[in-house]
Amino acid sequence: MTTVAPLLAARGVSKAFFGNPVLRGVSIALQPGRVHALLGENGAGKSTLINLLSGALRPDGGEIEVDGRAVPRMTPALARQAGIAVVQQELSLTASLSIAENVGLGAYPKRFGLIDYKELAARAKAACALVGLNEPLSTPVGHLALGRRQMVEIAKALYRKPRVLILDEPTSSLSSTETKILTDLLERLRGEGIAILYISHRLNEVMALCQHVTVLKDGTCTADRSLVGTDATGLVRLMVGRDPGDLFPKWQPFVSTTTAISVRKFSAGLMRDVDLDIRAGEVLGIGGLVGQGQEDLLLGLYGAIPGRTASAVVNGISGLPGGVPKANALGLAYVPADRKREGLHLIHPILTNMMLPAFARLPALKLRSRKTERETGKSLAAQLAIKGDLQRPAQALSGGNQQKVALAKWMPHDPLVLLLNDPTRGVDVETKREIYLMLRTFAAAGKAVVLLSSDTSELVHLCDRVAVVREGRITATLERAALSEEAIVSAAMGAEKQKVAA
């Protein structure tokens, strides 16, 4: 097998976004007739690597090779010509078009310059049959359930008769029957000599289906080996194994019996019947795979989405806040994950962004004091090491500094509970360190910090307790003594139960 040139390969590719390296010298080779697993935690660089392989992004360094020949300027069009098809994690379907139209989109058969619907139907039908889609081909995709849409997405890739098939978490929304159809299909395609790159968080699937594995960790390749002779525990260790260094402040045990927030049978969004106590003075981590309902837990407590509960006590007041202004008045503050969309007003000056929670709470028609605002802004900037003119629009700042502004704006209010949604995503190491230090100082002052994070290592090294969320429920609450990346990842994946995929 090693003598055959890989159908598609990356040789030492690097990529950085706004100065933050995401991939550093990563190599991967996709051989014909092999299912290649790509593993790594959230933010390890998997999606970026796929985007490089499919030409959606251009590498800063290194090369992309097709059939052993370097392609200096890979584009999505070139990738399609080379027979590379990608099934994206975020579905790229058009809801109002039919199944057939979506499957053939961009490659419609033509007759006399018009779309040949008869031919399209025949070819789409063949592709759909492969993935077990038996709905009428004229059904609008918007009418299908998420799992069926995922199958349409896969059919769309197969319609182009690919030589290289890249699947980014294809089974995350599939039922076990659909997963079985997919794994059988991939086995067959492998037999036909297609190279498959398979990304999944479900380790048992990977063990059953794949022959080779590449593990990414913080943008570097930590393993590139055959799957023979490894087990699930070994894979988890490969994904999370890293020296945390002195990134995290020294952990000190906290002594506090005061409860900041206590809810029983709390439901909001995806979360169902959660019992949770958040203590003053602790950093409570919220872990789990992306999209299990963690965000709804924070938003529900914050009153930004409607929630129900059997009983709730928030900072001594019973009942949920039920609205953001009310939550702020009760001493809650929320820092969103998507700082550009939810956290900041990018077109407004940094200073105005910092002052907004104050504007929201002050009497509406009280005259503003520009002098006090400038002074508050200056001291916040000094405290969080935000450099430069505060009259610049917030979009002029780097991602890390934007995150600091999103945090800083709550500081003048001295919140009792700080709800953070992935505050270090896409933030450079130095800023991470500053944010960690701030959170620990905050907790040491007797405040409660709830840290939702997709970065398992920060949950382990920063938190006093970690609640792991899976499918809308808290499935495990790990105390400091029991905290390890392996424990969190297994709880998040339900690995302890060894759920059978098929």
């Binding site: 930004a304 929320y334 939810e342 077109i347 002052m355």
Partner: protein, 323 residues
């Protein structure tokens, strides 16, 4: 130290020179100067004063419109509200109200309530502002036809008459009303937390709501203000005209939006100032006057008006793409 002061002062001066309100003002001045050379009598003090007086009505309607547009919405019911105000005022007259102040206040309360209903539809029923205010306009027009029919109603209100005709110290009362309103509007917009909330809401409603901005009450207030200033404009236009009739407010819908945009306020919300809308309103009446001077047929007047507005917008810079 002095050098630092100088550079800060210089920076501020250049920022003012480059700002949209100043640019719009410069265009107004340029048009006035050119027009006074071309057309005899255009540059006379009396004529320019008359232009500003006409601009006051647009300026008042556009005051509320500026609030709404900055907050990320649009109010298409302002013209109908102007008409409601101008027609209901003569109908709401009491013997026990010799100055006419009480009926003016009653009308302003009425138009503010209409605005708040717009706000309720936008904030609570989540109807798109365009649909909500357009439906409101259609509703009001129907109501006005039923109440007033085709006849004009004459105002017997002393205070309204004074507003439309008096000239204390040589300055028309309408202009004084506009100056006073402008002072309040600019203060609320740029010097209060309420004003800051409006900008935040328009720039990014999601981030504003997660920062604790009370979205519902702010939306109600913004559309209420628009109803109030449109009502005020209706009172002024009634005083200048002497009579109210169905359709008296019609010219002020497009004019108010055009004044806001010409003044540099972003139609996407979140950026802008009433300081730009003021010269924007004066620019609009100036263009109208110029076209009248040219003595073209009504069809050509409309075509000229539309083309000139488009040309001016291209001249003073289009909206920059947002990320």
């Amino acid at each position: 130290m002095t050098a630092w002061n100088d550079s800060a002062g210089g920076k501020r001066a250049s920022a003012i020179l480059k700002s949209r309100p100043f640019l719009t003002l410069a265009i107004v001045a340029a048009v006035w100067i050119v027009a006074s050379f071309v057309s005899r009598g255009f540059g006379a003090y009396g004529h320019l004063r008359y232009l500003v007086e006409l601009g006051a009505v647009i300026g008042l309607v556009a005051a509320g419109q500026t609030f709404v547009v900055i907050a990320g919405g649009i109010d298409l019911s302002v013209a109908a509200i102007v008409t409601v105000s101008a027609i209901s005022l003569p109908l709401l007259s009491w013997q026990a109200d010799p100055t006419g102040l009480v009926s003016i206040l009653a009308v302003l309360v009425l138009t503010t309530i209409i605005g708040v209903i717009n706000g309720l539809g936008v904030a609570l029923l989540r109807v798109h502002p365009m649909i909500m205010t357009l439906a409101m306009a259609t509703f009001l027009q129907g109501l006005l036809i039923i109440i007033a029919g085709g006849s004009a109603v004459t105002a017997e209100n002393p205070l309204v008459h004074w507003l439309g005709n008096a000239r204390p110290a040589g300055i028309p009362a309408g202009i004084i009303l506009w100056i006073a309103t402008s002072a309040v509007v600019l203060t609320v917009m740029h010097a209060t937390p309420f004003g800051a909330r409006i900008f935040a809401m328009g720039a990014n409603p999601l981030a504003a709501s997660l920062s604790g901005v009370p979205m519902t009450s702010t939306t109600l207030a913004v559309y209420g203000i628009s109803g109030f200033t449109a009502g005020l404009a209706g009172v002024l236009v009634l005083g200048m005209n002497g009579q109210g009739y169905v359709g008296i407010g019609d010219p002020y819908l497009l004019a108010s939006i055009a004044a806001v945009v010409l003044g540099g306020t972003s139609i996407l919300g979140g950026l802008g100032t009433y300081a730009g809308t003021i010269p924007g309103a004066i620019l609009l009446v100036t263009i109208t006057a110029l076209i009248t001077v040219v003595n073209a047929s009504p069809g050509w007047r409309s075509i000229l008006f539309g083309s000139l507005i488009l040309g001016l917008l291209l001249l003073s810079g289009r909206e920059q793409a947002r990320r």
